[in-house]
Amino acid sequence: MSELFYDAAPNATRVAPERAKPRTYPARPEEVTLFGTCVVDLFFPEAGLDAIRLLEREGIRVHFPQEQACCGQPAWTSGYVNEAREVARAQLNLLDNGLPVVVPSGSCAGMFRQHYREVFADEPDTLKRVDDLAERTYELTEFLLHVCKVDWQDLGQPTRIALHTSCSARREMNTHLHARELLGKLANVTRLDHDHESECCGFGGTFSVRMPEVSGAMVLDKTRSLRESGAVEMVTADGGCLLNINGSLEKQHQAFRGRHLASFLWERVSGEAMS
């Protein structure tokens, strides 16, 4: 198509950013910071711990700064820019030490990688640090796959699972591809597709409480297609979606459940069945 671009360069009007080039990955570092995310912190802490174990298994020393909190996403998506910026600044300062940052949640990683640029759009000096953070932020599955280049032996029994990927992670960072490839390394795990797999589970942060009826209809459809996929459980690398999907399944009195991908992976490669 390029010859058709002729003099299409615009002036004074925004154009879409250039398509992201495939990311290049560094060699395995000795140390990383784990940014746990607030949802994992409070509701799925085992998953955070399993993420640490998976990283340590690769010979990496993991730091977990006790000063970390939320990445700022809820306020940002609700339109409270100043509030989001204050919280984002606290995390930015905390993570400003050059270490790679691994995040066990696609949407929070996306916040660092994509949206901090918008949050700090008016602060050129901060933007340099924002870009630096974006450059060294990795979603967990991406990090395990491309930086650690894990070589795993599957110690678990044969099983069938469905994979759910949060929309932001899928569309901003292709994490569904990372997770698929990672799961593909597990010899006894069959990943089954589910109906309308790329469709949103209906969480959307505050959307789930501002538009509960629409959100509820979405999660009902999502849980149905997951159950009907033939999988025995669902795995996801996103705390928000997990909270939404499991909360809905429990409300429906379904036995089917989802769990965090980090916990699933740790169970397969360590041979330890989690409580």
Binding site: M1, L4, F5, D7, A8, N11, A12, T13, R14, A16, G36, C38, D41, L42, F43, F44, P45, L49, V62, H63, F64, P65, Q68, A69, C70, G72, A75, T77, S78, G79, Y80, E83, E86, V87, R89, N97, C167, S168, R171, C200, G202, F203, G205, F207, V209, R210, M211, P212, E213, V214, S215, G216, A217, M218, V219, L243, N244, G247, S248, K251
Partner: protein, 480 residues
């Protein structure tokens, strides 16, 4: 399963209408089936991802370039059209546009109008305006004809009657036209066609929309699949085209990629059955065509979006409908839930500029920001980013001078105070850890009913120990 709280007091809101739509199983099936098929058609029309992405980028650049020169291009368009013998009219509001259209019809002493599909005429509510003045305005697009017959509004910008299946259409035709009930789609189309043919011959004025207005040549380009657009613009003695100011593009060369993006994104077609290029009234040596051609250029809030470099991207839109076809919210609640002319993601980002946020306060929040719309938009409008920006404008206090018409519709001191508290919590590590400690320690006391969340879910229960706690014990090392 979950108990639905009656939201009767909300019936005149997005949420209230959504509740009604969600309860209508027929409607939901109609939309799901139709949207699934449209998504597949689009996917099949773009087999090569590289080609598709290159073309979308090009489309984005062309529209951005046109917008960056919008005032100039509009002037050039007016000059060229005038030279071609087309009368150009400018309308700031829909009221102005209607008056212009009415005065043209009146000058002809016209009483009958046939209309090709035009969303701008819907925006103007032209049919009602003319009906009040005893002018019959008949929709000639099959979908538009169906919704007009049923006294409804379009529920999709490309397929106005997509909320109805063929059985519902059969019943409608039977009830309104007194024909035998038939479920044969072809027969249904023939019934509509017979009724319309006669009207084309009788009409005093034909009205149409415009897909692209080409500044360099003064050409109005109109795509359609039924031939009704061509009939409406050529059979009656007078043709009035109505369009928004953002439809202008620089030259014919720009149209080629945009047209390909439009037809493939909309219905998965390589090209539409009809592509009409209108460059003026009938010339002395021509056998057919209207004696008079008018173009009404409507602003209706578009210049407000244009004034903001970020929101201006909204005006890239070429009205293909792909964003709604791929929207999980639209698929479930249908077009009428949006309560205004343009539904779906594009409706959510353009309507506030037209009618103001006070009238559509829920538009920006009725989205999970899943991004499916932005992913398919052929001109790469960052729709989620637009929604997020509108949310910002929606919660601003009057002192913060919202930049969108009637912004601050959702400003609430109470909510602002809650977010301030959230900031304190997340920027004071000691306080945050205390919160984690309390939430995990007293997890059994977590409320069982947490507002709307527990309509669809059980209440979330905090873990026994937080990750802060577990990580500290596990790592057993100094914090970094």
């Amino acid at each position: 399963m979950s108990q639905r709280i009656p939201v009767t007091e909300l019936t005149d809101s997005f949420r209230g209408r959504a509740v009604g739509a969600l309860a209508d199983n027929q409607l939901r099936t109609n939309f799901r089936v139709a949207m699934d098929s449209l998504m597949k058609k689009r996917a099949d029309a773009f087999p090569d991802e590289e080609e598709r992405e290159g073309l979308r980028e090009l489309g984005n650049h062309i529209k951005a370039r046109a917008l960056s020169r919008l005032p100039d291009l509009l002037e050039q368009l007016e000059a060229k059209l005038t030279a071609n013998g087309v009368h150009v009219h400018w309308a700031e509001t829909t009221e102005d546009a209607n008056r212009i259209v009415h005065s043209i019809i009146e000058a002809q002493k016209g009483t009958q109008v046939v209309k090709g599909k035009s969303m701008v005429s819907e925006e103007m509510e032209m049919n009602d305006f003319l009906a009040e003045r005893n002018i019959e305005c008949l929709e000639s697009d099959m979908g538009e004809y169906i919704v007009q017959l049923d006294g409804e509004k379009p529920s999709h910008i490309i397929m106005p009657a997509i909320h109805k299946n063929r059985f519902q259409v059969a019943k409608l035709f039977h009830d309104k036209l007194g024909v035998d009930e038939t479920e044969d789609v072809n027969e249904l189309i023939q019934i509509g066609r017979r009724t319309l043919r006669q009207k084309f011959l009788e009409a005093d004025v034909g009205v149409s929309g415009v897909n692209f207005a080409i500044a360099e040549t003064g050409t109005l380009l109109l795509v359609e699949n039924e031939g009704n657009g061509r009939m409406s613009t050529t059979a009656p003695p007078v043709h009035i085209a109505v369009t928004g100011i953002e439809k202008v593009v620089e030259n014919l060369r720009d149209v080629v990629p945009l047209l390909s993006l439009l037809t493939r994104s909309a219905l998965g077609q390589p090209i539409t059955t009809y592509v009409n290029m209108i460059s003026g009234p009938r010339k002395a040596d021509e056998l057919d065509g209207p004696e008079e051609v008018h173009l009404v250029l409507l602003d209706n809030g578009r210049s407000g979006a244009f004034a903001d470099a970020q929101l201006r991207q909204t005006l890239n839109c070429i009205r293909c409908g792909a964003c709604m076809n791929h929207c999980p919210v639209y698929t479930r609640v249908g077009g009428h839930t949006y309560g205004e002319v343009y539904p779906g993601p594009i409706g959510k980002i353009i309507t506030p500029h037209m009618v103001g946020l006070h009238k559509v306060p829920d538009h920006p929040s009725a989205s999970s920001l899943c991004g499916a719309c932005g992913e398919v938009c052929p001109v790469k409008i960052p729709i989620p980013e637009m929604l997020q920006r509108l949310r910002q404008e929606n919660v601003k206090s009057p002192a913060e001078h919202p930049k969108v018409k009637d912004g601050g519709a959702k400003y609430s001191r109470k909510e602002r105070a809650l977010w301030r508290f959230w900031v304190t919590l997340n920027t004071s590590p000691g306080f945050y850890r205390l919160f984690l400690w309390a939430a995990t320690r007293f997890r059994k006391l977590a409320p069982k009913n947490v507002g709307p969340w527990t309509e669809n879910h059980t209440a979330p229960v905090p873990a026994r120990r937080s990750l802060h706690d577990l990580a500290k014990a596990h790592l057993n090392q100094g914090d970094r």
